[in-house]
């Protein structure tokens, strides 16, 4: 089965001594047997999204196993043009947000604007949900019709809410990788369909092997496992 990981980072991490270097990411993807990882430069998260996006593109050109994901920091976004449209032209396949690391919430109008521009540009968006909260519900209400949002980093506390959001928004997907609780993946696939779940592991910050193994040893059919491990993400990204 092909393995495609939607949630990968590389660069420097300044809060502790975790190795999130490009070298570490590439070896982590190899060790979990992943064919591709959708990757973002941390330079774009902690410093400047334009500089980080440029680095992401350059790195992904050199390493074909990486698929470029851009990022936009709404706190830096005030121009009049559509950056998502430009990002699509540059070859980005995904836009990932980092509200927790940058200290903002999805309630701002700048974020709402970016989602609208992503919908228009047909650029999928990944947004971290984490523990139980109303973040998925906020996205459900804020994202314009046609905006393809991947609820990322879904922890088991937020699972029921994400399922309800996916029912209401047929263009939304969710990541499996941290749904932890026994049966969580099966319940999600049963309720919203295995075609709506993609692998996202937060490489190389966290272990991806456990997430892959959880899917492989789940009660899902082989066909559904293949969809979750890679098929759905390949389709979302326009064929990888």
């Amino acid at each position: 089965m092909r393995i495609l990981d939607n949630h990968c980072l590389f660069g420097r991490w300044m809060k502790d001594d975790r190795d999130v270097s490009l070298k570490k990411l590439l070896s982590a993807l190899r060790s979990m047997g992943a064919e591709h990882g959708v990757a973002v430069s941390l330079r774009g998260v902690f410093y400047d999204h334009d500089a980080g996006n440029a680095e992401t593109l350059e790195v992904c050109r050199r390493h074909r196993e990486l698929v470029p994901a851009a990022t936009i920091n709404p706190q830096h976004y005030f121009g009049r043009g559509s950056l998502p449209a430009r990002l699509v032209r540059q070859g980005f396949r995904m836009l990932r947000f980092f509200p927790n690391l940058q200290g903002w919430t999805p309630q701002g109008v700048v974020f709402e604007r970016v989602l609208g521009e992503c919908a228009k540009a047909r650029l999928p968006v990944a947004f971290p949900i984490g523990k139980a909260s109303d973040l998925a519900s906020q996205l459900c209400r804020i994202a314009p019709k046609g905006c393809r949002v991947v609820l990322s980093d879904v922890y088991y506390g937020g699972l029921a809410e994400c399922i309800e959001v996916l029912r209401r928004r047929p263009e939304f997907l969710m990541e499996a990788g941290h749904t932890c609780v026994p049966g969580g993946l099966e319940v999600a696939c049963r309720e919203v369909g295995a075609g709506r779940v993609v692998l996202g592991t937060n490489q190389p910050l966290e272990s991806g092997l456990g997430a892959v193994e959880a899917i492989r040893r789940s009660e899902l059919s082989s066909r559904d496992q293949a969809a979750v491990l890679g098929g759905n993400l390949s389709r979302l990204l326009g064929g990888i």
């Binding site: 420097r12 300044m14 502790d16 975790r18 330079r43 410093y47 920091n73 706190q75």
Partner: protein, 255 residues
């Protein structure tokens, strides 16, 4: 030219918020408007993202504005093997004046042994170490400073921000009494009225350095605090430049 000296500034973007005029040219324009001759800065990228990227940016700014911009090299404690070589590399570049440590962004206590390579290097080189100082903080507070200063007594240690908001500056007086080699810079967004007057009255005029924290804070607001402080003119001149020239060994450049 013998203008003011800004001993604490930054350069470039930062993920936390928009800094629309964070470039070196922007800073120099503001320096010109305020009569600031020299600024010592560290790049935001060096502590918020990638220390080599940021240190290179700071060095490039110093090279582009010789005699106006000087730089601190940032040491990242999460790359312990790289700290001393990186500082050595930066020390060989024009405009280098010292080391910057930022405990809260690195999430490492100032007195942690993780910073030892940087402290040790600075002590051997005799260059100042500027540290983020927030008096009540558990990583970069008064307790951390006391331990670090006791462990590295020969280091010229500069504490930033007058200890943080409000009345935190009062913490500086006992610290200065215990460790007479400490220096303090004046930058901060919300200091209590009378902070600079209080420190001067407490006998610390010779250890205060004007700092702007630009582009986090507009230098106009910061220099105004010193220009309009109710202190003797001699103390004002020392804070606005004389002390920094002494700290950085620039006295000969006065004329």
């Amino acid at each position: 030219m013998s203008g003011f000296v800004d001993a604490h500034a930054h350069l470039g973007a930062h993920g936390d918020f928009l800094m629309p005029r964070g470039g070196a040219d922007d800073l120099v324009r503001r320096m010109d408007a305020l009569g600031v001759e020299r600024t010592a800065l560290s790049a935001n990228a060096a502590f918020c993202s990638d220390f080599r990227l940021g240190n290179d940016q700071a060095a490039a700014a110093a090279a582009a504005h010789p005699g106006r911009i000087f730089f601190y090299a940032v040491a990242n404690p999460h790359y312990p093997d790289g700290m001393a070589p990186e500082l050595e590399r930066c020390a060989g570049l024009p405009g280098f004046v010292g080391v910057k440590l930022h405990s809260t962004t690195h999430n490492v206590a100032l007195d942690s042994s993780l910073y030892d390579p940087a402290w040790s290097w600075a002590r051997e080189r005799g260059c100042p170490v500027l540290v983020h100082f927030w008096a009540a903080h558990g990583l970069c507070g008064s307790g951390n400073v006391r331990k670090a200063a006791a462990r590295w007594p020969g280091v010229k240690l500069v504490l930033a921000h007058l200890g943080g908001f409000g009345e935190a500056w009062r913490e500086l007086l006992p610290l200065a009494a215990e460790h007479p080699r400490l220096w303090f810079d004046t930058c901060g967004s919300r200091h209590a009225r009378g902070a600079i007057e209080g420190l001067v009255a407490g006998g610390r005029a010779g250890r205060l350095l004007y700092g702007s924290d630009a582009p986090w804070i507009d230098p106009g607001s910061q220099i105004g605090k010193v220009l309009y402080a109710d202190i003797p003119e001699g103390a004002r001149a020392a804070i606005l430049g004389g002390n920094a020239r002494r700290l950085f060994g620039w006295e000969e450049a006065k004329d």
